[in-house]
């Protein structure tokens, strides 16, 4: 797994590539928490290069979504989902909980 974080004017983009499983999910969680702890609650997770995500990775997403949505101060949105990743999110019932964009540009533009 590799994580790249870029802070923009109106949101932060976290690009995650490779495998997010129980061994790497804590690093994703940490990257997201670092952003929310800095008081930034508008986050794009760009999954265009993601090969695999387990429920541990979904855990990081949903708990960050809870933090971001609190007091209506923001939200985490997803972009560039490969088909397998989209199927996992769908199986987990996550589709109604996250806005999903075709690519990072439109996700950033939404904020």
């Amino acid at each position: 797994m590799e994580i790249t974080h870029t802070q923009f004017k109106h949101c932060d983009v976290v690009k995650v590539t490779g495998r997010v499983d129980s061994s790497t999910a804590p690093l994703l969680s940490e990257a997201l928490t670092k952003i929310t702890e800095a008081g930034r609650y508008r986050i794009v997770v760009d999954m265009a290069g993601l090969d695999f995500i387990s429920s541990a990775g979904l855990r990081a997403l949903i708990s960050t979504q809870k933090t971001c949505r609190r007091y209506n101060r923001g939200e985490i949105v997803l972009s560039g989902l490969p088909a397998n990743i989209a199927a996992t999110l769908d199986l987990a019932g996550f589709t109604p909980l996250f806005k999903i964009f075709p690519d990072a540009t439109s996700a950033v533009g939404n904020f």
Binding site: D21, F52, S54, S55, L58, Q65, A83, N84
Partner: protein, 138 residues
């Protein structure tokens, strides 16, 4: 049947995934089926480390792959504590964000994406046998 034994640590997961993916390919599963099997095995192994052993480096995970006429059967064995899968309810996927649990998706993924799932608990040995069948190739 090929059986490999891995240390019960999270960083064994990518290696286990490689082994299972190779076997699933050999068994003739489709690319999405392979992904589904990889997911189920990852979840099952994470549960073994977290729940059966209660931590890393407590015991091993034995992983066997059997290519059958119908597809692929995977046998995972650990020596941790047993549990009763019947007591584990499916997660509520319709609850609101605030009420959504952070946990409880792993077993659900396994049950949804594998075609057959069987737990067997003997003193000192827990076995999970799961199969994925090839798509109807008509």
């Amino acid at each position: 049947m090929t059986t490999l034994t891995f240390p019960g640590r999270f960083d064994s997961l990518p290696m286990i995934a490689d082994f299972v993916r190779m076997s699933a390919q050999e068994a003739g599963l489709s690319s999405f089926q392979i992904y589904a099997v990889e997911t189920a095995v990852d979840e099952a192994c994470a549960n073994i480390i977290e729940h059966a052993y209660g931590g890393e480096d407590i015991g091993n995970i034995e992983c066997g792959c059997v290519i059958t006429e119908k597809g692929l059967t995977i046998i995972l064995r650990d020596t941790g504590r047993p549990f009763n899968p019947e007591n584990i309810k499916n997660p509520d996927l319709n609850s609101s964000l605030e009420e959504r649990s952070d946990h409880g998706l792993g077993l659900y993924f396994i049950r949804q994406w594998m075609d057959a799932v069987d737990f067997e608990f003997k003193p000192g040995s827990n076995t999970l046998t799961m199969s994925k069948f090839k798509e109807n190739q008509t």
